[in-house]
Amino acid sequence: MHELGVVFYVIRDVKKVAKENQVESIESVTLEIGEVSGVVHEYLIDCWNWAVKKEPMMDHAKLKIEMIPALTYCEDCKGTYKTVRYAKICPYCQSEHTYLIQGNEFNIKEMEVT
């Protein structure tokens, strides 16, 4: 259900950009999605394929997804590590004073248009 909601947001934003740029039809849209943004890519594509059919300007537009890996920064030892593997605790110094520096993104990167 979450995926359908974000698909509606993407379509709305993309249509706005298309209008501003006098686009006739949209061939593809590329998203950048953070590894820990909580979106299931397969569901997202299913929702996309269903939702774009209702949009004349983009009824055959493909959704492309690029993943941004999740990285966490440790305030104590200044190290950076893979979030998905080690989660909240720093693998170098066992500190809990860590925060996510990337991997939560949900960006529309670009679109191919005619």
Binding site: H2, V6, Y9, A18, S28, I108, K109
Partner: protein, 223 residues
């Protein structure tokens, strides 16, 4: 593929909503209306907690409630019996409310004359956390039967909440729920979270919660 133009967009899908939410907060500040976004999973006791909250605060504050659900109006019917302005918002299948929908709801209950507007968000611990509604403060309810590990499973929700109410503490003896573990997990996600154990059913802890809320409303109106 050579015949296609490529338009670079480079924009977060949340950017538009974040902007709208910020505008809404500024409007509310001007009108001295405090908007509370109340979130939780389904069945954690949002509506019952709200009933207790209204009982204690309705003499002191003008309160209005927006009930957001995918469908039905059972919650709005319950709350309207409490004698406060109520509106039911249907999200039409969406799993959350965004700032635009919240602004419509506020207009619907004529929030300008209120001290406290409460948005009872869709029961869900994932999506509502990602969309800023324009609320002044975010509160969530975690109930004992859900387990003390929820902050580990839904990190974003816990990290954006100013206050976490741990509801249904009257049934603690029947569940393997450890209050200290729960606190530790929540504070790991959000060291600033205020945690208040309550039982909306028997009324325990509700005073501490309403005191916090009243203070926040006054501060927002006076600052």
């Amino acid at each position: 593929m050579g015949e296609f133009r490529v338009l670079e967009i480079k924009q977060s899908i949340f950017a538009d909503n974040d902007r709208r939410a910020k505008e809404l907060r500024e409007e509310l500040k001007e009108k001295k209306v405090f908007l509370l976004n109340l979130m939780s999973s389904p069945g954690s006791g949002k509506t019952t907690t709200l009933q207790r909250t209204i009982e204690l605060l309705k003499e002191k504050l003008q309160i209005g409630v927006m009930e957001a659900d995918i469908d039905s109006d059972v919650d709005a019917a319950t709350i309207s019996k409490m004698g406060v302005k109520t509106i039911q918002l249907h999200t039409g299948g969406m799993c959350h409310l965004d700032a635009g929908m919240t602004a419509q709801g506020l207009a619907g209950i004529e929030a300008g004359s209120l001290d406290l507007a409460v948005l009872e968000n869709v029961g869900n611990l994932v999506c509502p956390a990602e969309f800023d509604t324009g609320a002044v403060k975010n509160a969530m309810i975690l109930s004992v039967p859900e387990g003390d590990d929820k902050a580990l499973k839904y990190p974003l929700m816990f990290s954006i909440c100013d206050v976490v109410l741990i509801n249904k503490i009257d049934v603690l003896p029947y569940f393997d729920f450890d209050m200290e573990t729960c606190r530790k997990n929540i504070l790991m996600r959000n060291p600033k979270a205020k945690i208040i154990p309550i039982s909306a059913r028997i009324g325990e802890g509700i005073k501490e919660w309403t005191k916090w809320l009243e203070k926040e409303v006054r501060q927002w109106q006076e600052s």
